[in-house]
């Protein structure tokens, strides 16, 4: 007999019990929804973080920092806290002594309020930038110019506004030269940045950039940790440049051959691999959740298939009397289990797609449903039906036809 017809029979029996079929499928639905949503969101976060790192640190440059992004044990975190902070003079020394660096920039930051004529922008990120920042990291000015070396050396009170701050203070492209007050200090606007959008609901445009030395005089804490960024000369590879930076900084800090480095070299690649490590941790948790919910769903399916076998014992006996083999009976109940499970998977997939779409519309995360998560969701739900349907189907096939017929 053709198994396709057994499957059609199984489908008919599902249709005759739609509510029960749906409830049974629900466990698998939850599991598949969880997988689709978590995979979509996690890969969305991954893509998003990658984008942020790429915008923060170009692939060509590297940072020197007391902190290393990624997972750390308490011991290594305590150790890095005991290291001396990086300073502007170290950055200047690196710029002076390094032969493989095209430029070195450094920055510090604080938070404050910017005011103009009764309008104010609170919780603004105040960043002190060395004049070399433009060369190292580029700038995204919509109007005006970057901070000059002379302004930095003279501790000039000039500033570049983030587009969010400019908007809050009702300043436009024609507002260059006006004054704003940063924590009570008067600054002249020399530029306004392009809008950069927001990250996790937090605007990237609520900032103000001022010369580093001005920043140090007005806003820095004594133990300020500056961020140093090194751009290698064109044609010099990253590793060579990093090695030189390490050597120069070790000499500056008077470290002996036995001492370990007391700073980190942070590259985009390294940062991304740390992030990916974190995301793969999240992914394994996801897989765990999915496995548990699929297990629960599978047990539900096994249970309902056992009920179905018990209810239809007479039918099994009749079918056997009419010539159904054990194999036919197995296929019938197995396809029922697989269909319920796959139905659950399909509903879960649908729900997941809707939720992921919702996330991508309502949050800045570029969450998306990937082809392989669809395939995995459907594949796994089918496999769950198969695994948990085998026992009831086998049990049904082992009924003695005569006893099955006599069953009341």
């Amino acid at each position: 007999m053709r198994q396709g017809e057994t499957m059609r029979a199984a489908l008919g029996s599902l249709r005759s019990n739609p509510v029960r079929s749906l409830l049974t499928a629900f466990g698998v639905t939850v599991g598949v929804t969880a997988v689709v949503v978590l995979v979509g969101v996690v890969s969305g976060i991954g893509g998003f973080v990658q984008l942020q790192f790429e915008s923060m640190l170009s692939a060509r440059a590297f940072n020197i920092s007391r902190h290393n992004p990624g997972f750390h044990d308490a011991e290594s975190m305590a150790k890095s806290r005991s290291w001396p902070p990086l300073t502007a003079s170290e950055a200047e020394a690196l710029e002076e002594y390094m032969t493989t660096a095209r430029a070195v920039s450094w920055s510090g930051n604080a938070t404050g309020t910017v005011v103009r004529r009764g309008l104010s922008a609170g919780n603004v990120r105040i960043q002190g930038l060395s004049s070399s920042t433009e060369e190292v990291s580029g700038s995204d000015l919509s109007v005006g110019r970057f901070i000059s070396l002379a302004e930095d050396e003279a501790c000039s009170r000039v500033c570049i506004l983030g587009s969010g701050v400019a908007e809050a203070l009702e300043l436009t492209d024609t507002s260059l030269g006006v004054s704003v007050f940063v924590e009570g200090h008067r600054f002249t606007v020399i530029g306004i940045n392009d809008a950069a959008g927001s990250v996790m609901g937090r605007s990237m445009d609520d900032n103000i950039s001022i010369p580093f030395n001005t920043f140090r005089n007005l806003f820095a804490r004594p133990d300020m940790d500056v961020r140093i960024t090194v751009l290698p000369i064109e044609g010099i590879d990253m590793e060579t440049c990093q090695e030189e930076a390490v050597q120069v900084l070790r000499q500056l800090r008077g470290l002996t051959a036995e001492d370990e480095d007391n700073f980190y070299i942070v590259t985009q690649e390294g940062a991304l691999s740390s992030i990916n490590e974190l995301l793969s941790g999240v992914a394994s948790v996801t897989i765990g959740i999915a496995a548990i919910s699929l297990l629960v769903g599978g047990i539900g399916i096994m249970n309902i298939t056992l009920v179905s076998v018990a209810e239809r014992t007479t039918e099994i006996g009749t079918r056997r009397a009419l010539g159904a083999t054990r194999g036919n009976v197995v296929v019938q109940f197995l396809s029922e289990a697989v269909m319920v499970s796959t139905l659950g998977g399909l509903i879960g997939l649908l729900l997941g797609v809707v939720l992921v779409y919702g996330v991508s519309r309502l949050t800045p995360l570029p969450a998306a449903v990937s082809g392989w998560s669809i395939a995995a969701a459907l594949g796994f739900s089918g496999v769950v039906g198969l695994l948990f349907g085998v026992f009831p189907a086998w049990k049904a096939s082992q009924l003695v036809p005569m006893e099955a017929l006599r069953h009341e």
Partner: protein, 236 residues
């Protein structure tokens, strides 16, 4: 009293030699059949009577290849079936035996024609031919107009007609009926018996289990079982 062997040119459809069957019910072993010899020739209409527990159902299930005897041999259409495996028995049931049950045993979600098609489906008959044969046989039992109804939309008599059509559709060598009128009122029961009589007249071999002496009287031969043994056989 030993009876002389009567030579008969007709083929034996059923030929059991000394078959026995016992069941274990908990600790107790119950003997259901003890050394039953039964020959059923082509075209015979035999009825089996006996009190409940006399072994009627067990005999029917062994002859119907739904169960195997513990000992003895069983030839169906000249072929030994007592040693066959499960798959071979399923094939024999499908090809050679048509079952008619007291409770009709139709699939509730399938229409009449789908129910009749079921044995052909298990026999591997292709869809189009299957449908034609099922409709033709439904016409023979007078149910053409009910072909696409479900059992719940049919009367008891109509259901049993569908079941008889289902039993006949594979053109089996042997029809087995277990109290076919047991769930029907007497008028409907009589019309079903008329149909079975008609099926017999067309040349089919029938073994029918019943309590009802009136039903039994319609057969050409009566076998009475008692305590798992043949007590009386009007035809051997």
């Amino acid at each position: 009293m030993p009876q002389p062997e009567i030579p008969d040119s007709r083929l034996s459809v059923v030929d059991t030699q000394n078959i026995s069957k016992s069941y274990r019910m908990g600790e107790v072993v119950v003997s259901a059949l003890e050394g039953v010899n039964l020959r059923l020739r082509q075209g015979e209409f035999a009825t089996v009577m006996g009190a409940s527990g006399s072994g009627k159902s067990t005999l029917l299930s062994i002859i119907g290849c739904l169960d195997r005897p513990d000992s003895g041999s069983y030839l169906l259409m000249g072929k030994r079936v007592d040693g066959m495996n499960d798959g071979e028995l399923a094939r024999v049931r499908n090809r050679n035996i048509g079952f008619i049950f007291q409770t009709f045993n139709l699939l509730p979600r399938a229409t009449s024609v789908q129910n009749v098609e079921l044995p052909l489906m298990y026999g591997g008959v292709a869809g189009k031919e299957r449908r034609q044969r099922a409709l033709a046989i439904l016409e023979r039992v007078g149910l053409s107009s009910r072909a696409h109804h479900r059992p719940s939309q049919l009367s008891g008599g109509e259901r049993q007609r569908v079941a008889i059509a289902r039993a006949l559709v594979t053109e089996p060598s042997l029809l087995l009926a277990d109290e076919p009128t047991g769930n029907l009122d007497s008028v409907t029961g009589r019309s079903i018996m008329d149909l079975i009589q008609q099926v017999h007249n067309e040349g089919n071999t029938i073994l029918l289990v019943t309590h009802d002496p009136l039903v039994s009287a319609m057969g050409s031969r009566m076998i009475r079982l008692r305590d798992g043994q043949v007590q009386e056989d009007t035809g051997s």
